[in-house]
Subunit: 333 residues, 2 copies
DNA sequence: ATGAAGGGTGCACACGTGTGCGAAAATTTG
DNA sequence: CAAATTTTCGCACACGTGTGCACCCTTCAT
């Protein structure tokens, strides 16, 4: 059987109350008694029962984490960042996948609330404003990663997509490109719009035209990027550089370009977004605007823990991406 | 406040005992009473408190999952498989990362046990035989993925690495290669040994020599594969084909080969192991022996649930990998 | 020596759910 | 219609930990 404070109480000849206090209160109990009880607890190999503590104290020391899919390497790093912070602070991670299904996401959040998690982190929510009433009812703080809502229990950490899109496009312009395409994402939602906005802003500033035939959409994955690039290669005139919604899209674009016999970056420059490890797997290695993914997770977790422990915390944090120059971009040939 | 069975009891004018039974026992309560109580519970929006249930019934409906790193795409799919099964059956997933640190792994497993998870799944354990005494003490069933131990509480699901290594090498031989190298992994442990064994077996059967200078080691990641391939390129005579411990290693090997100006598969054939999505990102796409990763996770979870629900279950399952022909292998030029 | 003050400890209850057993109510049996 | 039987329900306790309040035992001041 498992050792409980009652067992310790019996062994020490005191009440379980005294044991409970000796192991935590520290002040109300005579030092000798406390030391004796602690020694016995140690000797018996006592481990407090988190379930009982949760029932009594309303704290489970567990965070709920909701992600769309783990097969997306972006989320993977985020989760890893969350986990590291949580583990260091003694919290557990209850992980659920929503598979981009808003209804499922909703059900998961309610399930997590029922399981009494202390707080919830949602990466790439598909639920939007429908959250707010639910969260008010749940009374559990939520940190959203890369999506934005406002409300009493809602916090967020996000990267500045407009800035990132601007940064990527400016970089291409700086290399001398004047014919720059954008491959977006059907599923990107707000983040796609924002990156696109940054792209347009950079073009406008440089006095470059925004050509509709140079703006196509993928699906945020490799296949979509490939298909989009094939369409783009038929454009006349053909762009000399492409900014892609994310790295997976860019990898697809690169595949299609190589297959069409183009030399990258000589005939075509390609820049991605995210800063995935996967971008270094391909030849040439992918130049990209990196999101601080692990830090997104870290910050989200730290934010949540601050809130839970009653410390002051900002409600919304916006991070800037950084350019990583690798090999897929160069001056127009 | 949250609705409890006491609230329902008050509203229905019965004791909380009756409510408890009406919501589960079903038999001992008069049908009309039961229906009335259920209606009230529904109306009040009652949700049972899993924490209280866990304390009372010793079941948390939660599985612990331990993985080394999520940045390894192999584990990602496994976790996803586990999560799908768990979610469908109403179980939660408590995820922890061990970062390949045996001591941390041990601490995590004990923490999970303290948190009262019903069962534990460990992917790629680094703990080996040190598990057994601990598990006996914990009395919690564990399913190991791709590692093998035996004991009263230990179950396992694994892929047949010897067979996989044999399959890969046989394939290369079948294409006409006679100079076949192996890039292993320093960190691969038993699985590396087994794949190597399959490699040697295939060579032996075909009457091909095992040359020590054609056997080098990476680290199971891209960088290690790259470095290993650079060493291999200096061998004389140079191999015409390489079997790599896993896909990441193979991707590294491919990078190094392309950089050295080799044409793949014309000058060099490369085959990997795992069947990662990432293998399709590179050009040429990677031929590989695929592990049924998601199924590994699924089976592990299903196995664990069978055990928990007292149904009969095999103790050890061994799955076979399958060859996926893509573009990185061809006859020797 | 007596009373007040104060620190140390235990009783009883709380958290929300589940269950053995006995009591009350309803039903069947003689 | 009374007795035996069955059904239906509630009391009390359990799970392991935490806490308000009262009590007891020192210790100190008068």
């Amino acid at each position: 059987m498992r050792v409980t404070i009652k067992d310790i109480a019996r062994a020490a000849g005191v009440s379980h109350t005294t044991v409970s206090r000796a192991l935590r209160d520290s002040e109300e109990i005579r030092p000798e008694t406390r030391a004796r009880i602690r020694a016995i607890a140690e000797a018996l190999g006592y481990r407090p029962n988190p379930v009982a503590r949760a029932l009594q104290g309303r704290r489970t020391q567990t965070l709920g984490v909701v992600v769309t899919r783990l097969s997306d390497p972006f989320h993977t790093e985020v989760v890893q960042g969350i986990e590291m912070v949580a583990q260091a602070r003694g919290y557990g991670i209850l992980l659920s996948l929503s598979h981009e299904d808003p209804e499922k996401e909703r059900a998961i959040v309610e399930l997590l609330a029922a399981k009494q998690v202390d707080g919830i982190i949602v990466a790439a929510s598909r639920l939007g404003s429908r959250y707010l009433p639910m969260l008010e009812a749940l009374q559990i703080p939520i940190v959203l990663i890369n999506s934005h809502q406002t409300g009493p229990y809602v916090y967020s950490v996000a990267t500045d997509n407009v800035h990132g899109g601007y940064l990527a496009t400016r970089y291409l312009i700086g290399l001398g490109h004047r014919a720059i395409a954008y491959i977006g994402s059907r599923r990107g939602g707000r983040s796609n719009q924002d990156r696109y906005r940054g792209y347009r802003q950079a073009l406008r500033e440089a006095g470059l035209p925004l050509r509709p035939e140079w703006v196509v959409k993928g699906d945020g994955r490799v296949e979509g990027g490939e298909a989009a690039m094939r369409r783009l290669l038929e454009a006349d005139p053909r762009p000399t550089a492409v900014f892609c919604y994310n790295d997976l899209t860019a990898i697809g674009a690169l595949k299609a370009a190589l297959r069409a016999g183009l030399r990258v970056p000589l005939d075509l420059s390609i820049i991605g977004f995210d800063g995935l490890e996967e971008g270094t797997y391909v030849t040439p290695m992918l130049t990209t605007v990196a999101q601080p993914r692990r830090q997104l997770g870290r910050l989200a977790a730290e934010m949540l823990l601050e809130i839970l422990e009653g410390r002051p915390s900002p409600k919304h944090i916006l991070l800037q991406g950084t350019l990583i120059e690798r090999e897929s971009c160069g001056p127009p040939g």
